[in-house]
């Protein structure tokens, strides 16, 4: 059965690695639902957070195919329950219509979003939260008819486990390098 999986991938900071990672999804006909690339906590190591919908056999194969790329350090997959995850969203709302919809302000407060820019023409609302929360506020604002633009970031996630496989791996490799 298909589930949402969150892949957390670490790579060296070399050109072209992102292409190699996404290519594995293309070849396996998997849709990337969300993708985020950022520096990791370790110098020179990039971190990719990718969500996709598939089954466990396939996600294992995909992880190994990605890890096989020379400059990929590690690829791990998690289910929703195994990570803490969130995303960010921005909404640009029409000021005229906002004035007529007091429910919007209530919704913005309910979802812990905040207004970061206001002028006579529009206002901008920023939100952080789970994918469910951002989706709910998005549909609410859309229904109200004052939404001009909306954008959501890729999901970012950290594992809930106490184990730190990347740190363990890098430590082990540093030792192996010394032993050579």
């Amino acid at each position: 059965m298909d589930n949402i999986y969150i892949l957390i991938i670490f790579s060296e900071n070399l050109a072209g690695v992102l292409n190699q990672v996404t290519n594995v999804f293309t070849r396996r006909q998997l849709n990337i639902e969300s993708l985020n690339v950022s520096p990791s906590g370790i110098d020179g190591v990039h971190r990719y957070t990718i969500t996709t919908r598939t089954n466990e056999t396939m996600i294992q194969l995909v992880c190994r195919q990605i890890e096989k790329k020379i400059d990929v350090i590690q690829a791990q997959y998690y289910t929703k329950d195994e990570v803490f995850m969130m995303e960010q969203a921005l909404y640009k709302l029409e000021m005229d219509k906002m004035m007529l919809c007091p429910e919007n302000s209530k919704a913005i407060r309910k979802y812990d979003a905040r207004i970061v820019e206001v002028n006579t023409d529009y206002c901008i609302v920023a939100q952080e939260g789970s994918h469910r929360e951002t989706s709910e506020l998005y549909y609410f604002l859309k229904e109200s008819g004052c939404l001009r633009q909306a954008v959501a970031s890729g999901i970012i996630a950290v594992s809930k486990s106490s184990e730190e496989p990347l740190a363990d791996y890098l430590e082990k490799r540093a030792q192996q390098s010394k032993d050579l």
């Binding site: 292409n19 096989k68 020379i70 050579l180």
Partner: protein, 574 residues
């Protein structure tokens, strides 16, 4: 003392430091500084000067890549290929993909336009790194002269370590001409790359326990055994556990053809017995093979009765096609030996005997009529068998793709490792001639027999020019049936004999050979075959032996696509 050299000169020094002796290449605009540097590092014709490298000028860049592959397969060394940007680079793509599929270590160096004009659609600019990334182990653009030594060493380390494969270095023109201090580099560790995965002791124990317990074990031998140099370990393993074995096409020379436990080839055109008994064994032991669709037939019904052990160096191969009970990761030279130590001596006589009725059936219906036909035109199998006998089964076989390949794989016999060079995964027609050229440089002391069809020869026929110039002793055996034979066979079986564009009008190959100053002979009558083969082998240098073979012959037995692996067709109605 520091040395200040151009990037191109650093390339030469770095290649020499990696032990490169032979380069297959073709010059062009964006690689000219490297070719200029090369001029000082090669043999000067008609003088006693001996350079560091022997550069072989091919006639098409695709051939440079295949020649590098042939060189690498036969020698175990990294093959090197040097071409220009744009079309020079894209012409090597087929060879790079071929090397990736068949785990062949090559380093392809492509020229690239100056970095200041990258992305401006400059003349002969193409995005080589992006094109090649999905079909090679590593692809890197060298944009600074300072990076050359590091990139070359990293490229060779990646190409030859772990599961070997192709590496591409895209060398921008500015990096070739600018000067930098030459500091030799030796890359033998990459943090993010573990060439040989750790072997789990538990898996070794579990594998040994399964093998000791098995009543009907069957071993699948792949090219991985050859790549690991584990032929001796394999024989000790087989002789201890007493298990019969079948070889994949890529693994044919990993186990001597006449070893009593070698039951023959696996797969679509493999032996009847090996495919039948795959579905009867109680334990499948796969070593350095990847369960390709040409081996397994219908995956869903592939050996469901058997427990499975998979020895491989590449973790991404485990459970990729076939789910296994015990994966044994690591270098199979070490893992086979480790498992062998824990094995009980067994014989499995009844199980081995159970292969015999199938072998007899195949021998009667397929093999004897193919290798000893009483009358009619020459058949492919008899030519192949006569060639292998005349070389005492010691030659290197290079094949093209199609019927010539399957017949060669079925009827050539092997007694020495690294003796089959063929395009397995990609099925690249036109592979044979350039790969055979490469093989003559990789193993100059061995006889190289290049068996091909009339279709494949014409795909890279320009390489007769390279053979002429280098006098490479390629023994070309052309099985000419005036057909694209394998496609015709499939049209016969699956497309109602509608021979859509498979009949082929051929030139006079003896005249072509003569134009290239290559001695040749055509055999039509059976009684001329042996003497013609003798003449070919007795001739110094290249030779073209054209055999007029039965026009509509079929490769049998055959496991048709989508069939269970033991569901093999033994005859096809004419």
């Amino acid at each position: 003392m520091t040395e200040i050299l151009t990037g191109a000169e650093i390339m030469m020094r770095s290649l020499a430091a990696e032990g490169v002796k032979t380069i297959f290449g073709y010059p062009g605009g964006a690689i000219m500084p490297v070719f200029d540097a090369l001029y000082d590092y090669v043999d000067y014709p008609n003088t006693s000067h001996r350079g560091t490298f022997n550069h072989i000028l091919v006639r098409h860049e695709q051939a440079a890549a295949h020649a590098a592959e042939g060189y690498a397969r036969v020698s175990g060394e990294v093959g090197v290929c040097l071409v220009t940007s744009g079309p020079g680079a894209t012409n090597t793509i087929t060879g790079i993909a071929d090397a990736m599929m068949d785990s062949t270590p090559i380093v392809v160096i492509t020229g690239q336009v100056h970095k200041d004009v990258l992305g401006y659609d400059a003349f002969q600019e193409v995005d080589v790194v992006d094109i090649t990334q999905p079909i090679c182990k590593w692809s890197y653009q060298i944009r600074n002269a300072e990076d050359v030594a590091w990139a070359v060493s990293r490229a060779f380390y990646i190409a030859r370590s772990g599961r070997p494969g192709p590496v591409v270095l895209d060398f921008t023109k500015g990096a070739q001409t600018r000067k930098a201090e030459y500091i030799p580099k030796k890359v033998d560790f990459i943090r993010s790359y573990v060439p040989v995965p750790e072997t789990s002791e538990t898996c070794i124990e579990e594998a040994a326990a399964l093998i000791n317990k098995a009543e009907r074990p069957f071993v699948l031998v792949g090219q991985g055994v050859e790549l690991a140099g584990a032929q001796a370990e394999l024989v000790r393993f087989l002789e201890t556990c007493g298990a019969p074995a079948g070889c994949t096409m890529m693994g044919l020379s990993a186990l001597a053809s006449d070893h009593p436990l070698n039951m023959g080839m696996l797969g679509m055109h493999g032996a009847l017995a090996t495919n039948k008994q795959t579905q009867q064994c109680d334990l499948l032991i796969a070593i350095g093979m990847r369960f390709a669709d040409r081996i397994t037939g219908k995956l869903a019904t592939y050996a469901p009765q058997a427990k499975k052990i998979h020895f491989d160096i590449d973790p991404a191969e485990i459970n990729k096609c076939v789910k296994v009970d015990v994966p044994v990761l690591g270098d199979c030279k070490d893992t086979i030996a480790a498992v062998t130590k824990r094995l009980e001596k067994r014989e499995h006589k009844a199980w081995i005997d159970s292969f015999k009725p199938w072998q007899q059936q195949e021998d009667e219906i397929v093999i004897q009529p193919q290798i000893h036909p009483a009358e009619g035109p020459l058949r492919m199998g008899e030519v192949v068998r006569k060639v292998t006998e005349a070389t005492k089964n010691k030659a290197v076989l290079v094949t093209d793709v199609g019927q010539n390949q399957m017949m060669s794989a079925r009827y050539f016999r092997f007694s020495r490792p690294r003796s089959i060079i063929t395009s397995g995964g990609m099925g690249t027609m036109g592979f044979c001639l350039p790969a055979a050229i490469g093989a003559t440089f990789g193993a100059p002391e061995r006889t190289v027999c290049a068996i091909m069809g009339d279709g494949g020869l014409q795909m890279t026929i320009e390489e007769l020019g390279t053979i002429m110039e280098q006098r490479c002793p390629v023994k070309i055996i052309l099985l000419n049936n005036n057909f694209l034979g394998n496609v015709r066979q499939w049209q016969n079986l699956f497309f109602d004999k509608r021979y859509s564009f498979t009949p082929m009008v051929n030139p006079d190959y003896n005249m072509i050979a003569s134009a290239y100053d290559i001695p040749s002979r055509t055999v039509i009558e059976r009684e001329d075959l042996e003497s013609a083969i003798e003449e070919m082998l007795a001739t110094d240098g290249p030779f073209l032996l054209q055999c007029a073979i039965m026009p509509e012959d079929n490769v049998l037995p055959m496991c048709c696509p989508g069939s269970d692996v033991d569901d093999m067709v033994l005859t096809i109605e004419a």
